[in-house]
């Protein structure tokens, strides 16, 4: 069905009505206000390609599809493991990042999670937000990951569940960890648990003191369960839960092991 705006026979008054909605976007200032009230302004500002807080914003210009596609800030556990990690901090509206918080959520460019067809075609008068000029995040492929020996899973040393305190130079490390575990998540979601396990071996070798070891453990348990290694998943889950009895990932880990043990999985 042809849209009104695409149909030359659309009456003028209808066209004017619909065109009046082109200014419906919330401007950057108002959007930023909301972000501040939610206490996520710092996390957004950390994103080098964040379009919410651009260095220079132009109003009334098309919102480019590619700009939208670079607006992803992937934090620890975002697309990796849901839920709340072991450490937490109180945030109140309007908080900016303090030393107790971890504004380490670095921004990376991620592949679109939706197909191009789901992206609305920008109209000419929609406001554009220009991202600051920064070096693009290098794309990483599985092949680019450091070579890791695929040791027997049962013998592999699992990382401790608690994260080490943040330091000044942790931004790049966390970024690398995020990329690595994002690849793991992607492999798992695509039904490739063995590939996910290989990637996790690479992660463990490269980030022995990584901040996302807990998340990596959870992903490993899930990958083991998906691969059919019920015994391995159960062993790792037992150890994980023993070492982190209060982990928020408890239900998720138990569910993964339970699924692996269900009759449907046999």
């Amino acid at each position: 069905m042809k849209r009104y705006q695409e149909d030359p026979e659309t009456p003028t008054h209808l066209r004017k009505l619909l065109e009046s909605a082109r200014g419906d976007d919330l401007d950057a200032q108002r959007t930023q206000r909301v972000a501040k009230r939610m206490g996520i302004a710092a996390a957004l500002a950390m994103a080098p390609e964040s379009a919410v807080f651009p260095a220079a914003a132009r109003a009334h210009a098309p919102l480019a599809k590619t700009t939208l596609r670079t607006l992803v800030v992937v934090g620890a556990g975002l697309c990796l493991v849901g839920g709340v990690a072991g450490t937490s901090s109180w945030r109140s509206p309007g908080d900016t990042a303090g030393p107790a918080s971890t504004p380490r959520a670095t921004a990376i460019t991620s592949a679109p999670t939706a197909t191009p067809a789901t992206t609305p075609t920008p109209t000419p008068l929609e406001p554009v937000i220009v991202a600051p000029q920064v070096a693009p995040v290098p794309a990483m492929s599985v092949a680019a990951l450091p070579n890791a020996k695929v040791a027997p899973r049962a013998a592999h040393a699992d990382p401790a569940p608690t994260a080490t305190p943040a330091t000044e130079d942790d931004g790049d490390d966390l970024h690398a960890e995020l990329l690595a575990l994002e690849a793991v998540r992607k492999a798992t979601s695509e039904g490739r648990p063995r590939a996910a396990l290989s990637l996790l071996d690479g992660y463990a070798a490269k980030h022995r003191a990584g901040k996302l070891r807990e998340e990596a453990s959870v992903l490993r348990i899930e990958a083991l369960a998906s691969s059919g290694d019920r015994a391995g998943a159960s062993r790792l889950a037992d150890r994980f839960l023993r070492e982190s009895p209060n982990t928020v990932y408890g239900p998720r880990v138990r569910a993964a092991v339970s699924r692996a043990s269900s009759p449907e999985q046999q």
Binding site: L18, R37, M38, G83, P93
Partner: protein, 210 residues
């Protein structure tokens, strides 16, 4: 008034509404959750804001509505299926808009709302274009308010957000045929209501320019 309206709307959430019991804004949040929430916000805040506006939330209430949507999302981060983030957020926004619409007084006739919009948009000496834009936007609100929410939803997604019908079907989790049917009915009603508003605007212009 903007904040009060949204708060009142929140209190009128149906018992069956899955968004009820949204957590306090002071709920502890891990760095990981903050980062994930920030990512969702960066990716989808614009779409959510436009959706709220176009589904009936007045412009002055959109900020509060946007915050409410993401607060609910924050409480359910672990339930959001990867790749379904926009659909998830849209669902929350749609329910919010529905609640706010119910709480807005309906004693004001659609035509009156257009007239009030015109009165409130006192044109500055050099902002004739802005005034006309404001009038048109107020008129659009009046027209869209006349549509049932399910018809309004598909119309704004198709005509204003310029989504394809297949994508709308996926977003709303309804059959493609249902989208097509609703869109057809929405356009019919939209055109009828637009005619009524145009006539009212013409009458108002006649009165003003006498």
């Amino acid at each position: 008034m903007a904040i009060a309206r949204v708060v009142v709307a929140a209190e009128e959430i149906d018992a069956s509404d899955d968004d009820s019991g949204a957590p306090s804004r002071l709920e502890p949040r891990s760095p990981a959750s903050t980062a994930r929430l920030a990512a969702l916000f960066a990716e989808h805040a614009g779409f959510v804001a436009r959706t709220l506006r176009r589904l009936g939330i007045p412009d002055g209430d959109v900020e509060d509505g946007l915050q409410e949507v993401f607060i609910v999302a924050q409480s359910k981060l672990d339930r959001i299926e990867p790749g379904k983030e926009r659909s998830f957020l849209f669902g929350i926004a749609r329910r919010r808009a529905s609640t706010v619409r119910r709480s807005i007084s309906r004693t004001m006739a659609r035509i009156d709302r257009v007239s009030v919009g015109i009165e409130m948009s006192e044109p500055a000496p050099d902002s004739g274009e802005r005034a006309e834009q404001a009038h048109a936007r107020a008129a659009l609100d009046a027209v869209l308010d006349a549509l049932p929410l399910d018809l309004r939803t598909v119309l704004v997604l198709h005509e204003l957000e310029e989504m394809e019908t297949a994508d709308i079907a996926e977003l709303l989790d309804i059959p493609l045929g249902t989208v097509a049917s609703r869109l057809r009915r929405a356009r019919e009603k939209f055109e009828i209501e637009a005619e009524a508003v145009r006539d009212a605007l013409a009458r108002s212009d006649g009165l003003v320019n006498r």
